[in-house]
């Protein structure tokens, strides 16, 4: 072989090696879709995983919503589905019809923060019963004095999650006892930033939304501790993680297709996700679970893939 061929071979080898990065030559595409709530975490994992593999593995993350994500997932179109609620019966049925078997991993927790206006002086704590009386369907509570005796007789301005969000489903289920059961006359929004603005602007407002949005705006709002029977608990990293802040801590999941786990790039990504979740999750504004829970998840992953 002459000099030119040696050179060509050297260049080709160089090029072939530079794409592999540290993952030992894993490449391919991982398709992810689903909830817009969970997406920031999955995106963080995808971003760092991309950096680690030097772009050899492409992770595509869509934002079709939990329902849309499950529809695609159960049709076999995606490998991983982000979900802010567990899969429901109709979706399980669809998965079964299409022969899609899956495994669910809980990846983080989201606290639902109940907030009032920054200068609200009289609300220091709300019980779950009081919250229920305000938010239940057919509720006639319109003034603060009807919530607790001694409070001012000012009208309450309510702000809450849009009917089409997992936050709404979750809040209504744990506070009102039934998912979607809520009074309809409140200012609803899918965008929690708007709810922040609303609560901030109305002196007698009351709102609920994701903890991350409260935390980013904590100088502009006043957090209300919630009493579910064992004292007033203020949501923060610790209370949500340990479950003290009940019942308003909700789990966030990823559902992974079992057949996809057979592909090395998918398994590597899920493993990376679970290994690094504890550091990634707080960066996105959500709350990480206990370390042991992540280790359990990794053990479950090992079990599914036969150990690697």
């Amino acid at each position: 072989m002459n000099q030119r061929t040696y050179l060509a071979l050297a260049v080709m080898t160089l090029v072939a090696c530079s794409g592999g990065g540290g993952s030992g030559g894993v490449s391919g595409t991982v398709e992810v879709d689903g909830s817009s709530t969970v997406v920031p975490i999955t995106e963080a994992a995808a971003e760092d995983y991309g950096l680690e593999t030097g772009g050899a593995v492409r992770v595509n993350v869509g934002v079709s919503g939990t329902g849309g994500g499950f529809k695609r997932f159960c049709a076999g179109e995606t490998d991983i589905s982000n979900a802010s609620r567990p899969i429901v019966a109709t979706e399980m049925e669809l998965c079964r019809e299409n022969g899609v078997e899956y495994v669910a991993f809980q990846v983080a927790l989201d606290g639902l923060a109940v907030t009032v206006h920054r200068q609200n002086e009289f609300v220091d704590c709300l019980t779950v019963e009081e919250l229920k009386r305000v938010w239940e369907p057919g509720s006639t509570v319109t003034r603060w004095s009807e919530v607790r005796a001694g409070w001012p007789a000012e009208p309450i301005k309510l702000y809450g999650a849009g009917t089409n969000s997992g936050t709404f489903d979750y809040f209504t289920e744990v506070i009102n006892g039934e998912a979607r059961a809520s009074r309809p006359d409140y200012t609803a929004s899918e965008d929690d930033n708007v709810l922040v603005q609303g609560v901030e602007g109305d002196p007698y407002s009351l709102g609920y939304f994701g903890f991350a949005y409260y935390w980013e705006n904590r100088e502009r709002l006043k957090i209300v501790p919630v009493d579910s029977g064992s004292g007033c608990v203020t949501p923060d990293d610790r209370t949500v993680r340990t479950g003290d802040y009940a019942p308003l801590s909700r789990p966030l999941f990823i559902y992974v297709k079992k057949s996809a786990l057979a592909r090395p790039e998918v398994e590597a990504f899920v493993r990376f996700y679970l290994e690094n979740a504890e550091t990634l999750v707080p960066q996105t504004g959500y709350i990480a679970m206990e370390t042991s829970r992540y280790q359990e998840a990794l053990a479950q992953l090992d079990q599914e893939t036969g150990g690697v």
């Binding site: 909830s35 934002v63 079709s64 919503g65 939990t66 329902g67 849309g68 499950f70 529809k71 802010s84 609620r85 429901v88 109709t90 979706e91 669809l94 369907p137 849009g162 009917t163 089409n164 969000s165 997992g166 709404f168 489903d169 039934e178 998912a179 979607r180 059961a181 809520s182 309809p184 006359d185 409140y186 200012t187 609803a188 929004s189 899918e190 965008d191 708007v194 603005q197 609303g198 602007g201």
Partner: protein, 315 residues
């Protein structure tokens, strides 16, 4: 190709590429006609496609909810337990916003068109017309957030008690967005009025404003009304601005200062969300879509009939 040109050849050579004669031209004519007809058929297929996609799930919806309740009910809470399926709140929401937007866009757009077409010097027109067209190009997402973060606080400062979501700011911003539709298309229509018509009016002693309002505008009326209809259709069908700024609370009201929900916002907010596909809540999207489609259809048929009476033909 041929080195000789006869008189009979001149017509053909001058207008067409070198070809093999009359039969080839006739064939080309037929082919072109067929191809263009095929293009036009795309629009028919689009409608058929939309209707098919909407009907599929809407019919499933109507098997569970009576159309009467759907059309006359005054509560729209499909995602609550217990659900109600009366579309009137969504309908009034859409109409309120469209009326507000039309109130802003039609007068301003027409006045701008008159200025551009009859008064503006050519240099000014060459600058202003594209600048106005930029308004049409601003993404609706940007307009939505502009309405929410700029216009709404302004309205709230002037009229305290306005909700953080309200119909007024969405309607105003939407009106601004569709001004160029009215102004550009009306101006084109007015420019197409023959100069001879204007000159005749001047010659008979009309002033500029009289020429503009009594000669040019009536002459260009079909184009102007076409632009109005296009603009109102756009206002009815606009999704993003209302989704972001008008709210998600279906309310049967004519008060523009409260949070409402339009048909399009409901579709957008529900389609991209947490609802499980195949359920009745999901199917309500298609029922609303079908209703919206039917309303715009009826509106367009009526305006088509009205337009026929005003069409002016020259030559």
């Amino acid at each position: 190709m041929a080195s000789e040109l006869t008189a009979g050849d001149a017509g053909r050579r001058g207008l067409a590429r070198p070809d093999r004669g009359v039969r080839a031209r006739r064939r080309r004519e037929r082919t072109v006609g067929r191809v263009l007809f095929g293009f036009s058929a795309v629009s028919i297929f689009t409608t058929l496609g939309i209707v098919a996609v909407l009907l599929w799930d809407a019919l499933a919806f109507f098997r569970e909810v009576s159309p009467l309740e759907f059309l006359t009910g005054t509560r729209w809470t499909p995602l609550f337990a217990p659900p109600s399926y009366g579309i009137l709140p969504l309908l009034t929401g859409s109409l309120l916003i469209a009326a507000g937007a039309a109130l802003v866009a039609l007068p301003l757009g027409l006045a701008a068109a008159i200025y551009l077409s009859e008064y503006a010097p050519l240099g000014v027109k060459r600058v202003l017309k594209p600048v106005l067209e930029i308004l049409a190009g601003v993404p609706t997402v940007v307009y939505g957030y502009f309405a929410l973060t700029f216009v709404t606080p302004m309205i709230r400062a002037v009229i305290p008690g306005t909700d953080v979501f309200n119909a007024a700011s969405a309607a105003i911003v939407m009106g601004i967005m569709i001004i160029p539709m009215v102004s550009s298309l009306s101006e084109d229509a007015m420019s197409a009025v023959p100069v001879s018509l204007r000159e005749a009016a001047y010659a008979l002693g009309a002033t500029r404003v009289e020429v503009a309002t009594r000669t040019v505008v009536p002459a260009a009326l079909s184009g102007i009304i076409a632009s109005f209809i296009l603009a109102i259709s756009r206002a009815l069908g606009e999704t993003m601005i209302v989704t972001i700024a008008a709210g998600a609370t279906p309310t049967l009201t004519l008060n523009p200062l409260t949070s409402i929900q339009t048909m399009t916002a409901f579709i957008a907010q529900t389609a991209g969300g947490e609802v499980a596909h195949g359920t009745i809540e999901y199917r309500s999207i298609f029922a609303v879509g079908l209703a919206l489609f039917s309303i715009t259809l009826v509106m367009n048929i009526l305006s088509g009939m009205v337009l026929k009476r005003y069409r002016e033909v020259y030559e």
